[in-house]
């Protein structure tokens, strides 16, 4: 739409309905905050996610209030890829999917790739590697304890440290 079209349209509309005193509202700040908080992640939504990589993606997705479709659109991947990350054990993810999801979730690409087992883990990081390999394969137990929930949150924090990417 160009300015001329918009100008002509606006002139027609204003001739018909004067918008000088337009306003809308009625929602209290408390109600708005409550709705926003209702969207924050609860341990229950993570219970059915079988892998750690799925849990961190689901965590960020819930926190942002994104549907699977919205996350897929933002990452420019198929929605089925998001479903695969969140619901399947040991998902076979395309490298591009991993990189794009890391970008959208504001994760360190390197760390997220590591979690997704897409890059070889160097000998020097053996201890770290064991941890990540364990994390990537942790199975669904049907519920999430507060400790496990904290662990997922901590993992999200670790993934969000991007210092490694700068090197």
């Amino acid at each position: 739409m160009n300015f001329e079209t918009m100008r002509d349209w606006l002139a027609r509309k204003l001739a018909h309905a004067d918008d000088t005193v337009v306003a809308a509202g009625g929602t209290s700040l408390d109600a708005l905050r409550q709705d926003a908080e209702a969207r924050t992640v609860t341990p229950a939504v993570l219970a059915d996610v079988p892998t750690e990589i799925g849990k961190v993606v689901r965590y960020v997705r819930e926190q942002q209030g994104w549907s699977r479709r919205e996350l897929a659109d933002l990452a420019d991947i198929d929605e089925i890829e998001v479903v695969r990350i969140e619901t399947t054990l040991d998902p076979p993810l395309a490298p591009r999917t991993v990189v794009n999801v890391a970008r959208v979730c504001n994760f360190s690409t390197r760390r997220f790739q590591q979690l997704a087992k897409h890059i070889a883990i160097h000998e020097d990081h053996a201890a770290n590697a064991v941890q990540l390999r364990f994390a990537a394969r942790s199975a669904n137990v049907g519920s999430v304890t507060p400790e496990e929930f904290d662990a997922v949150r901590a993992l999200v924090e670790v993934l969000s440290e991007k210092a490694l990417d700068q090197k």
Binding site: L10, L14, D18, D19, T20, V21, A24, A36, Q64, G65
Partner: protein, 201 residues
């Protein structure tokens, strides 16, 4: 993202190019509060000095920073701005999920809900003798309808009108469904897909 739109500059006497900002952040909202509330305070002081007083609408005192901070980080809560020469002339927060039509024949279908909509104080007749811009609400509501169309909601729109604005929404062809005790008793208004088509035409 920004789009080129238009506003009527009543001082210049013609329609001028303006910019629509599709999602503002907390910093933008804070900057706008500073601008609007400072202007308002100056006008209030001026009126007091002249031994009169301004009868201000409630939304003139809104703190947009708090609104955007509360929900602006969530994808379904975009706040849009319309700018002229980098100054916000109007702000609108939308809610794009979990809101459904109430009109008979449309009941239960998804719509875009206008959470808050307000114009800058220098555009308000309650604040200044010669308001500057007109078209702020019209253009922002157009953006809300376009958002609804993009989401597959067919242009369906809902909002709670502040009392002085009811004639405007009626003029757009929106249907008023009566006062809503859950929303400060404001009149709930809705736009149907047919009304939306007529509005953007």
């Amino acid at each position: 993202m920004t789009l080129e739109v238009a506003l009527e500059d009543r001082h210049a006497g013609h329609i001028v190019p303006a910019t629509l900002v599709e999602r503002i952040d907390v910093t933008y909202a804070r900057r706008t509060d500073d601008l609007w509330l400072t202007f308002l305070a100056a006008e209030v002081a001026r009126a007091r000095a002249a031994a009169t007083s301004l009868s201000l609408p409630e939304h003139a005192h809104w703190r947009w920073e708090r609104k955007v901070a509360a929900a602006g980080h969530l994808l379904p809560y975009p706040t849009l701005a319309i700018e002229f020469e980098s100054e916000a002339q109007g702000l609108m927060m939308l809610k794009t999920d979990g809101e459904f039509a109430r009109l008979p024949g449309e009941t239960g279908k998804p719509l875009v809900y206008v959470v808050f909509l307000a114009t800058a104080p220098w555009n308000l007749p309650a604040v200044v003798a010669r308001p500057r811009f007109r078209g702020v609400g019209t253009v922002l509501l157009r953006a809300a309808v376009e958002t609804s169309l993009d989401l597959g909601f067919k242009g369906r729109l809902g909002l709670h009108s502040l009392s002085q604005s009811e004639p405007f929404y009626a003029g757009l062809g929106m249907t008023a469904l009566g006062n809503d005790p859950k929303k400060e008793n404001l009149n709930y208004c809705e736009m149907t897909p047919a009304q939306a088509v007529a509005f953007v035409r």
